[in-house]
Amino acid sequence: MTSPGSATPFQFPEIYSFPPFFTRQPNESTWREQRRQWCELILAYYRHYRLYSISLTEPAREPPFANRQVSRVLPADALREVVDELVKQGNAVWTGAKNTKDACLVLWRKPDVWASMIHQWASERGLLSTVLTVFELTSGDDTVGQEFHDLDAATMRRALDVLQSQGKAQLFAGSSDEDLGVKLFA
């Protein structure tokens, strides 16, 4: 993959310049197709720029949800439906307070994939069964160049939770609860 904050601009699909793309189509099967394309666009865009969250508290003004060239914005309600679909696919989770659909975490790579990347890295480096800090995994000098370097904290936590549920990791806190450590196992 390209480096974080990719220098090359994202190549929008043609449909992004097509004004009706930003209006929820009343016909159910057309909407299904439209929704599928929105899901694809969001995942690709978020992966390209390594973005992780969508906030729905304010009307969207930025790409990919808005296109200034055609002066269109995807309305929040339609976006919620799109995100619902992403959630159903396992590519997003609602993170708003009290289950409100105000914010979501986009998982353009599923946590179990991140999990196996992290595990592979640790076992190649002979770091299994040693204490690692979560900070070390995302921001340490040793993970520079790894895909999970600079991974957002919530996604990292989900990946580690996957490893923990597989019995391949144990998360624990030291004297402060904020700075978590993790031990990975074979």
């Binding site: 069964s129 040693t130 204490v131 690692l132 800090t133 900070f135 070390e136 921001s139 340490g140 000098d141 019995g167 144990q170 624990f172 806190a173 030291g174 004297s175 402060s176 700075d179 450590g181 031990k183 196992f185």
Partner: protein, 219 residues
């Protein structure tokens, strides 16, 4: 990390190491922050110099010097912390090795204790004391063995018994296999067997009956 530790267990040691590593992370973060300030100070000094504000440019440069010193200090601290962590982790590895060595030497002494010549000779002895000893040895060995080992041993015993039985059978009439052969054929077989028996008896003499007496004990 510690020896004999069950998987997934987090010890006080682990927590202590984590605390140290968190400190290291904090120092690194601090360094990165100082580095950003340092870079800004540098460009500020250039800007001020361009504007002709020499006094403030000098101040910016002084501050930059100070920040550089801070980074150097934290570098030293980081190095010390890193070394301490490595020492600790290495001693944990050493602890594991020592534990392994201890176990190895314990097994070795146990083996040596069980490998005395008299004991081996006693195994071949037939007295009541020796039989009691054999039972004891086999009980100890059994408790130290995995089921696979035990199965392998039993299979080996079976194989030995079979070989022994084969050898004995050379001296016994063959059990008929399959359909009964014609009379002539039976006579032939009986004849060759008689010869074999004669040969065996000539070669091994009185050993033969003794072994047949022992045979049920093996089973």
């Amino acid at each position: 990390m510690g020896a004999g530790q069950s998987k997934g267990k987090i010890t006080a040691q682990d927590k202590a190491i984590l605390d140290m590593k968190v400190q290291r992370d904090k120092l690194k973060l601090y360094q990165r922050r100082v580095q950003v300030v340092l870079d800004r100070e540098d460009s500020l000094a250039r800007e001020l110099l361009l504007k002709g504000d020499k006094r403030r440019a000098l101040l910016a440069l002084r501050r930059r010097k100070y920040q550089e010193q801070m980074i150097r200090t934290t570098d030293e601290q980081l190095f010390n912390l890193q070394r301490l962590m490595e020492t600790i982790e290495f001693s944990l590895v050493q602890k594991d090795i020592i534990f392994g060595l201890e176990q190895g030497s314990r097994v070795l002494t146990q083996l040596n204790r069980e490998m005395r010549i008299e004991d081996v000779e006693r195994l071949a002895d037939d007295t009541a004391e020796a039989i009691a000893y054999q039972d004891e040895v086999s009980a100890i060995l059994q408790s130290n063995m995995s089921t696979e080992d035990e199965e392998a041993v039993l299979a080996e015993l079976e194989e030995l018994e079979r070989q022994e039985a084969d050898r004995l059978q050379l001296g016994l009439p063959h059990a008929p296999k399959g359909a009964l052969p014609e009379h002539e054929a039976v006579d032939d077989v009986a004849e060759t067997e008689d010869e074999e028996e004669a040969e065996l008896n000539a070669g091994e003499d009185r050993e033969q009956p003794e072994r047949s007496r022992n045979e049920p004990m093996l089973a």
